[in-house]
Amino acid sequence: MTGEPEVTAALAEAHGLTAEEYERAVKIVGRTPTYTELGIFSVMWSEHCSYKSSRIHLGRLPTEGPQVVQGPGENAGAVDIGDGLCAVFKMESHNHPSFIEPFQGAATGVGGILRDVFTMGARPIALLDSLRFGPLTRPRNRYLLSQVVAGIAHYGNCMGVPTVGGEVYFADIYNKNNLVNAFCVGLAESARLFKGVAKGVGNPVMYVGAKTGRDGIHGATMASEEFGADEEKRPTVQVGDPFTEKLLMEACLELMAGDHIEGIQDMGAAGLTSSSCEMASRAGTGVHLDLDLVPCREEGMVPYEMMLSESQERMLLVAKPGHEDQVREIFAKWELEAVTVGVVSDDGRLKLTFRGGTVADIPVRQLADEAPKYDRPVAAPSWIEALHGLDVEALSEPADFGEVLGDLLASPTIASKSWIFEQYDHMVRTNTAVLPGSDAAVLRIKGTDRFLALSVDCNSRYCLLNPYAGAAMAVAEAARNVVASGARPLGITDCLNFGNPERPEVMWQFAMAIEGIADACKALDTPVVSGNVSFYNETMGLGIYPTPAIGMVGLIEHGRRPVTLAFKDDGDLVVVVGATHDDLGGSEYLAVWHGREQGIPPMLDLETARKANDAVLKLMDLGLVKSCHDVSEGGLAVALAECAIAGKIGVQVGLSTQGLRRDALLFGESPSRFVLTVAPANGDMLESVLAETGVPFEVVGWVRGERLQIGVDRALTIDRPVADLGEAYDTALERALEAGG
């Protein structure tokens, strides 16, 4: 092809390929690759698309179980939820774009994950987000948060898919690398899931949706590099159009209700390249594309640009023979293009022609499945010992525990996120039975007596201090959140955000986190059905805390109604399920009150976690639980306050230290604990059921009055009006955002 730059080893290096990778590419094509081919190799073998550093570790995750309808490897995973239906879900990162251009970066993150779900033939019913920012005391972070939230709202609201929950944490380490992970759940008939396969030699390959522009070229490659000091990466960020995606979704779902296609795949990262290669590779076929037929938004686009563009709102599909007209008709109804751009072949090659010449001819299997795979060196970081070495005894106990509680409730990580979720349409589709702000979002499944409970969790401070334990606790907390709402955990998706994998300590964090997730998922019977790895969350050598965000899907069955965290009625007994240990290490209390992100994080015992979950679900089955809340950041005192604030009612409890420090008792974060309430008349029954399970518990007090009163060893230690705590909790985020703004 005339006019294309000459391909050299130096150009390959500029494309992010190592010398060995380039040699491998040369060997695969049997000559010097064309410029277009070089572009294709560079994106397909980028960390983002190839998982070259993570693949050997990911194999350790449990992915099977009777509930699994679709495991990893497709656009999204799926678990059975009864009546022939399945929940289709996946979480994905959009970190790099959301730092460069937070509004569009976050918006297109939502757009991408929605496409992954409706590509499977599922109608998306819920979105959640896991976000990380630097502290709001910095103007840049206030800007990033506001724009990320606006971007998520812009896309999700217009799509008519409710954003029902999520999590946000703030820590200095995210100043230069904020994280935006989007989690989408859809509903489909298990027998009618669609896959990304180019099946049937001779079948037409069709391009549907928006036109291809020059936006997002090399987005996947960018996501596979660290940020430098002052690089201008804005052109690599895509611009989203949720209206077009809404039309695309309706058109695809209408198309999939009929019998017109063999396979379909979203054009996400690496656009036309990855969709065509992956579809052919999965089916063991080849794909020939005539690039002259690709709908382009701009004049003069060349094959290299077409293949690498990450323009949004596009899909590639393989139609059944003779069904092209029906495909075109449905897309025309939704005012979208559907163009035949190629054909499925039997030669196992990705062959691209443009203006009469062949511009790329690569064996698909080598390109897609035989991408480089690295067993990168792993080494525990030398600094971790120093972080563990925290002398808790040297820390003075606070004089006023009520003041600590107030500060914790107003800490942006703990405080109410209503300022955020009120900007999201969280009710559209009329399924949201438990609104954002409880442990899990709960959606009814129309036409059944069941509900889905969804949660996303990760305490990355724990993961910094102990990546194995932190990752296991992320799974356990996500499970506890869905259990607290009354649901049995079914499965997870994970979004693994880490620093530069070429550094052995980052790879060690990754390997340990994978072990933690694997062990927790086995113990809690929640297989991993989909996921995403995001490396290189690092700026000038400073990597983020390991942040393996866990998205959990659970099911409420047997005609039971969801349970919320809000205390309900005066006189209800308050019960703490699970044991409290000396677990101040890595706590929010240490960070907020003592300014230390140190110590040994709580040690999670998976058997205990499982038993506690089962015990609570047993109580739920018996209809005994009036409110239930997981104990996490801020410990028991914060959990009690959150239940009281949500219920707008007071609580009186008495606790005993039994050898613990008072701050460890009140604010320590021992896992596998719940705060729940029961009607006084059912107290005895609850006690006998719990006693049978062997799970430790204590009836600590009752719901009463308008104040939160906690006695420790018979001394009134915290005594605050619930309304005042509520004011601090509800307005903290808005105040932090307006400060100096």
Binding site: V428, R429, T430
Partner: protein, 236 residues
């Protein structure tokens, strides 16, 4: 007594309205595609919420020129029931079927939360199931719900009792100004919903279809649709 739900490209509460009308109220529902001129024998029309045409240009500005809008206008002129919810209200206003304009919320942000409303008039199909002055809780979900009109129009709406719903405190006290905490978006006279010329047309920003089932924790919106279905049955 079929009820037509008009579907524009970008409508996203169309399924929700249809669900409440059919599964909750037992009505016969027809989904009417915006490009059609055929109302399929509908005896009432609902324009649902969403982002018709992505709300590009201005909310409702493109949808008003959809082919079906000529039929909607004719149907309204004939005195037959037309209800616009959220984006549907914006479309009716843009089409001139209802007076005034819906501009950007006072705080410039999209707001999704429950608000309390006072039912001001009960002599229309959708409000007949409420008592006058009753306080109900409906969710809102919009960025452009700030109702504004010139002084003459506002006076006429008030004089002719054409204000259907008004934002209020939970005890029913009216929001006193556009900055009042109980006025979520800054609407003039705290107006949340209005009637057109003959009370057969109604537009409102809050979403009664999102609170019409006990399972969602709030059924305050159910009489809104039951009233419409009952009125149509009465006509027959």
């Amino acid at each position: 007594m079929p009820i037509g739900v008009v579907v524009f490209p970008g409508s996203n509460c169309d399924h929700d309205v249809a669900h409440v009308l059919s599964a909750v109220c037992g009505a016969d529902v027809r989904m009417l595609w915006h490009r059609s001129h055929d109302l399929e024998g509908a005896d009432a029309l609902v324009l649902p919420g969403g982002f018709s045409y992505g709300d590009y240009l201005r909310a409702g500005a493109m949808a008003k020129v959809s082919p079906i809008m000529a039929e909607v206008a004719r149907f309204a002129r004939e005195g037959r029931p037309v209800v616009g919810i959220c984006n549907g209200f914006q479309v009716l206003v843009e089409a001139g079927i209802l007076p005034g304009a819906l501009v950007r919320n006072r705080d410039l942000r999209f707001i999704c939360r429950d608000v309390t409303l006072r039912v001001e008039q009960t002599d229309s199909p959708c409000t007949s199931g409420y008592s006058r002055g009753q306080v109900v809780r409906f969710p809102i979900a919009h960025a452009d719900g700030n109702y504004q009109a010139d002084a003459d129009t506002l006076k006429r709406l008030e004089d002719e009792a054409k204000v259907a719903f008004r934002y209020c405190a939970s005890d029913g006290t009216s929001a006193s100004s556009r900055d009042d905490a109980h006025n979520p978006n800054g609407s003039a006279n705290a107006i949340a919903g209005i009637f057109g010329e003959h009370r057969n047309t109604l537009g409102l920003m809050p979403h009664p279809e999102r609170c019409a089932e006990e399972i969602l924790g709030n059924a305050d919106g159910r009489p809104f649709f039951e009233g419409l279905v009952a009125a149509l049955a009465g006509v027959a």
